[in-house]
C-alpha cells in the first residue's frame, strides 16, 4: 500500500523534526519523548473511535488487549503482535519481533540508543486507544535487539 509509505515517512519526519528543534541532554530528550507520545495519544484516540464504531462491545480487559494485538496492530503495523503475555493483574507485555517502525533502522547495536525515539509515538497510540476504550494505562517500550520490541502496558485501576 502506497499510503503506508506516506505514514512511515511522516512519522520519521515528525521524530526528526521534534529532535532537530531540541537541545541535547536528558531533560530535553524526555521532553521530546513526551511530545511524540502526546501526538500518538491523540491519534490513538481518534483511530480507535473510527475502528470500533461497528464492532460489538468488548467482553473484558483481556478481550480489549487481544483486539489491540490483532486488529488494531494489523491495521497500523501490517502484522499481528507476535506474543501477548499477562500476569492477570493488570500488566500486559506485547512483543513484536519485527516492529514496523524499527525495521528500516540498522539491525546492529550501533543505533540501539536511538530506538526509543521511534517508539514514543506508538506508546501514545496504545495508551490513547485504550483510553477511549475506558482503560487508563501507562505504556513503556523496550528494545534489546532490533527490530524486536516489547511494549509493556500497565493498567491503572481508577
Amino acid at each position: 500500500m502506497a499510503d503506508e509509505a506516506l505514514f512511515l515517512l511522516l512519522h520519521n519526519e515528525m521524530v526528526s523534526g521534534v529532535y532537530k528543534s531540541a537541545e541535547q541532554g536528558e531533560v530535553e530528550n524526555g521532553r521530546c519523548i513526551t511530545k511524540l507520545e502526546n501526538m500518538g495519544f491523540r491519534v490513538g484516540q481518534g483511530l480507535i473511535e473510527r475502528f470500533t464504531k461497528d464492532t460489538a462491545r468488548f467482553k473484558d480487559e483481556l478481550d480489549i488487549m487481544k483486539f489491540i494485538c490483532k486488529d488494531f496492530w494489523t491495521t497500523v503495523f501490517k502484522k499481528q503482535i507476535d506474543n501477548l503475555r499477562t500476569n492477570h493483574q493488570g500488566i500486559y507485555v506485547l512483543q513484536d519481533n519485527k516492529f514496523r517502525l524499527l525495521i528500516q533502522l540498522s539491525a546492529g547495536k550501533q543505533y540501539l540508543e536511538h530506538a526509543s525515539k521511534y517508539l514514543a509515538f506508538t506508546c501514545g497510540l496504545i495508551r490513547g486507544g485504550l483510553s477511549n476504550l475506558g482503560i487508563k494505562s501507562i505504556v513503556t517500550a523496550e528494545v534489546s535487539s532490533m527490530p524486536a520490541c516489547k511494549f509493556q502496558v500497565m493498567i491503572q485501576k481508577l
Binding site: 499510503d3 509509505a5 512519522h11 491523540r42 475502528f51 464492532t55 491495521t75
Partner: protein, 180 residues
C-alpha cells in the same frame, strides 16, 4: 461476528485515516511550538520537502513512469499517478499559463482535512502546506525546481482547494539535494 466482517473492507480506509490523524496531530503540535502561523507554514513546507525527496524513490519504484518530456507530462503524472497512488484522489489540471510553465491542481476533496476545522485564531495557517513541500522536494530529485503554493483552500471557505505549480528551471547539477 461483526468484527471479522470489518477487517477486509475497512483496513484500507483505516490506513489513510492513520495518516490523516497523524498529520493532524503534527499540525496541532507545530501550532503549539511556534508563535505564529507563518512559521508553522514554513515548517510544514520544510518537513514536506524532506518527505518529498524520499517519497520520489518510493514512487519511481512502484510506478512504471518513465522520463517526462515536458512540464505537461509531469503535471499528468503528478495528478493521475502520484496523487492517486498516495492520497487516493485525482486532482484536475487546469489554468495553464500561455507559456506552459504554470498550472493549477484542483483538489475536489483533500483527505488531509477530513476531520479538520480551522479556529479563528489560525486564519493564516496553510493547513495542508506539507503537500507543497512534498511536491517541491520530489520534483527537485528529478531535476526540476518548482514553486508550489495553495491559492484556494476549502478550510478557508473557498469552493475548492487549489495548488498553483510554477516551473522555475531545470536543475543541471547532479549532486543529491541536502536536507533543509
Amino acid at each position: 461476528m461483526s468484527r471479522q466482517a470489518n477487517r477486509g473492507t475497512e483496513s484500507k480506509k483505516m490506513s489513510s485515516e492513520l495518516f490523516t490523524l497523524t498529520y493532524g496531530a503534527l499540525v496541532t503540535q507545530l501550532c503549539k511550538d511556534y508563535e505564529n502561523d507563518e512559521d508553522v507554514n514554513k515548517q510544514l513546507d520544510r518537513m514536506g520537502y524532506n518527505i518529498g525527496v524520499r517519497l520520489i524513490e518510493d514512487f519511481l519504484a512502484r510506478s512504471n513512469v518513465g522520463r517526462c518530456h515536458d512540464f505537461r507530462e509531469t503535471a499528468d503524472v503528478i495528478a493521475k499517478v502520484a496523487f492517486k497512488m498516495y492520497l487516493g484522489i485525482t486532482p484536475s489540471i487546469t489554468n495553464w499559463s500561455p507559456a506552459g510553465d504554470e498550472f493549477s491542481l484542483i483538489l475536489e476533496n483533500n483527505p488531509l482535512v477530513d476531520f479538520v476545522e480551522l479556529p479563528d485564531n489560525h486564519s493564516a495557517l496553510i493547513y495542508s502546506n506539507l503537500l507543497c513541500g512534498v511536491l517541491r522536494g520530489a520534483l527537485e530529485m528529478v531535476q526540476m525546481a518548482v514553486e508550489a503554493k495553495f491559492v484556494q483552500d476549502t478550510l478557508k471557505g473557498d469552493g475548492v482547494t487549489e495548488i498553483r505549480m510554477r516551473f522555475i528551471r531545470r536543475i543541471e547539477d547532479n549532486l543529491p539535494a541536502g536536507e533543509e
